[in-house]
């Protein structure tokens, strides 16, 4: 029959080798955050974008010191061309365009940051719950996201803002409360694949509570795509606020927003004869959205798991 094999040595390997493996004393591997930072800094456009965003942020913070005039003050010059006194001219009721441009950066940044923070928080929790618990909870949540994602985003926002009334707060709230479904889908997908991994199962076997596993173990590993989504989402929110304000359904005068500064250009005379009124705010929207999108692209490349290692 099948031979006499009674040796008790470990099979295929010999004996009691000392327990040391590859020694790594001294030289430690790069930490994760450093590696991400290094990869991000290699993306030249993203670095430029970060620089531009930093400048806009400083502009928003120090607006009162930077603006040459009070943005609400009506001067004697109406529709004034750019001059030494008013570098970018004055608008139809005589307010300094440059000052309004500087103050308007506050609106864009506040909308971008707050609205995105709201919907990322909602979307992350909803998506995590759907992905982790699965079953009918997942089914119901996913159908709800389907419902909300069927409404063209800009259109439903326009309609709701027109129903609830347009103001800075309402724009932020509507954007924040309606933006979550795409984040929820994204997070659900990550959680679905992460919960299959052994470290999650180990956590369950160790008796770690479900919320702790979900928020302490699974979500920290799903941050990369959320961060990328949030960055692109911020660019989208800045753009949406500008578009709403342009149509007169967002931030209303006298408060200055880059979008509502363009509203007047819908009249052909302003468009033709006073380009200083509409070109600068348009360029500001373009530049800030572009900068944030570059940052998003840099983050996406830096955090791409396929490119790691």
């Amino acid at each position: 029959m099948t031979g006499i094999r009674t040796e008790t040595q470990p099979p295929s390997v010999q004996g009691n080798t000392p327990i040391t493996e590859v020694e790594m004393e001294g030289q430690r591997k790069e930490t994760y955050s450093r590696m991400i930072a290094r990869r991000f800094l290699k993306h030249r456009l993203a670095v430029v974008g970060l620089g531009i965003l930093a400048i806009i942020t400083l502009m928003a913070i120090f607006a009162p010191f930077l603006a040459p005039h009070d943005p609400y003050e009506v001067t004697e010059v109406f529709e004034g061309e750019p001059s030494a006194e008013h570098w970018l001219g004055t608008d139809q009721i005589g307010r300094d365009v440059l000052s309004r441009l500087i103050y308007a950066s506050r609106v864009s940044l506040v909308v971008g940051v707050v609205a995105v923070a709201i919907y990322i928080a909602i979307g992350t929790i909803v998506g995590a719950v759907a992905g982790y618990f699965g079953g009918w909870i997942d089914m119901v949540i996913m159908r709800i996201t389907d419902i909300f994602m069927s409404f063209p985003f800009f259109m439903i926002i326009l309609v709701i803002v027109s129903v609830v009334g347009s103001s800075l707060t309402n724009v932020i709230l509507v954007l924040g409360l309606l933006g979550w479904p795409s984040v929820a889908r994204l997070v659900r997908g990550s959680v679905l694949s992460l919960k299959q991994l052994d470290f999650v199962k180990a956590g369950i076997a160790l008796g770690i509570s479900t919320p702790r596993i979900l928020f302490g173990h699974i979500l920290p590993n799903a941050i990369a795509p959320i961060l990328v989504n949030a960055t692109f989402g911020m660019a989208g929110a800045v753009m949406t606020e500008a578009a709403l304000s342009f149509l007169g359904m967002g931030v209303k005068a006298p408060m200055a927003s880059w979008g509502n500064m363009l509203t007047d250009a819908q009249s052909l005379s302003v468009l033709t004869d006073q380009p200083w009124l509409w070109v600068p705010p348009g360029v500001m929207i373009l530049v800030s959205v572009l900068a944030i999108n570059f940052i998003g692209d840099g983050l996406r490349d830096a955090l791409d798991p396929k490119a790691l290692k």
Partner: protein
């Protein structure tokens, strides 16, 4: 071990007629059209301080047994008795009470450690959750655990990606040990490692067993690893146990043809000791959705008879148990 020590001892774990089925859903309304019978009526016991090796091809359900015992999978039927308590019907909350006694080591050391946590956090968390130690003693305990598994305590600040596969597996072992368990399910803990590292991990597990009086259910797909570490071996085929006996018995007097096939796959270092007649199985593992009638091995068994196709053999209840109509002499 003494001759009849096994029958006198009280088992730490008894698995009785355990079944773990996965539903297969199909069609427009996702009706359940069948089941994958991953574990199909399995009975065995493990005694304190021993290592039971559980061996079989991939897909035979051996890992599912381990995961069902620790309730990472839900049992469909049957009973699991741990320390005299029936835990198979425990709610997840009730399971919390025995988590400290029952732990698991995973196969893949790369996915079994949270990449965002430092070693110290990985090892400290179970201690914090179960409040086994006062807070200020936890860092000491973490260092002790690292030393126990042969890692310098200075490694506690590092992240998993800074370690090799073998070192990660040591951390996984340390994590399982952190709660001071009685029984550890080792789910193919060396299969993913380089051959040279495998022996180190096996030795470590053996040393820890002596030191801490641990009991192991050691799952592997080859007889190689289990031989070195196991007191007894159970051989699984298609969701069923076909043979259980002491390691020496399995190797010297295999009774089930399938066991013999597995032994033939095991390389013998000395060519003169190689048996002349090698049994080779033909065909693939049949599907666990529709397992063959009668003896499940009959489609591939070299000694198949008419009765094997009709009647399913029962696992005998003696110390060298076998489920075969015509056990080998």
């Amino acid at each position: 071990m003494k001759k009849n020590s096994i029958s006198e001892q009280v088992p730490i774990l008894q698995v009785e007629q355990l079944k773990t089925y996965y539903p297969i859903r199909k069609g427009i309304f996702s009706r359940t059209v069948g089941h994958v019978k991953a574990v199909d009526d399995v009975t065995f016991s493990i005694y304190p301080g021993e290592t039971l090796g559980l061996v079989g091809e991939s897909g035979c359900g051996k890992s599912t047994i381990g995961k069902t015992i620790i309730r990472l999978e839900q049992p469909t039927e049957g009973e699991i008795l741990f320390d005299g308590q029936s835990i198979s019907a425990f709610s997840l909350k009730e399971m919390q009470g025995i988590r400290t006694d029952l732990q698991i080591i995973f196969q893949d050391p790369y996915s079994s450690l949270n990449p965002r946590k430092r070693v110290e956090d990985i090892l400290a968390e179970p201690l914090q959750v179960h409040q086994l130690l006062p807070k200020h003693e936890i860092p000491r305990q973490v260092e002790k655990l690292l030393e126990k598994v042969g890692l310098p305590k200075s490694y506690k600040d590092r992240y998993p990606h800074e370690f090799s596969g073998g070192q990660r597996q040591r951390i996984g072992i340390a994590r399982a040990l952190s709660l001071n368990p009685k029984l550890i399910i080792c789910d193919e803990p060396v299969s993913a490692l380089d051959v040279s590292i495998q022996a180190q991990i096996l030795n470590l597990l053996k040393d820890l067993q002596h030191e801490m009086g641990l009991t192991y259910l050691f799952i592997a797909h080859g007889l190689g690893a289990v031989k070195y570490i196991s007191d007894r071996i159970a051989v699984m085929y298609l969701g069923k146990i076909v043979e259980i006996a002491k390691t020496k018995e399995i190797f010297e007097h295999p009774k089930h043809p399938y066991t013999q096939v597995l032994l033939n796959a095991y390389p013998v270092p000395n060519p003169r000791l190689r048996s002349k007649e090698r049994i080779i199985v033909q065909g693939d593992l049949p599907s666990p959705v529709n397992p063959p009638n009668g003896c499940r091995f009959h489609t591939r068994c070299p000694y198949v008879q008419a009765v094997c196709r009709e009647k399913e053999p029962v696992l005998s209840s003696d110390e060298h148990a076998v489920a075969c109509h015509f056990p080998l002499a």
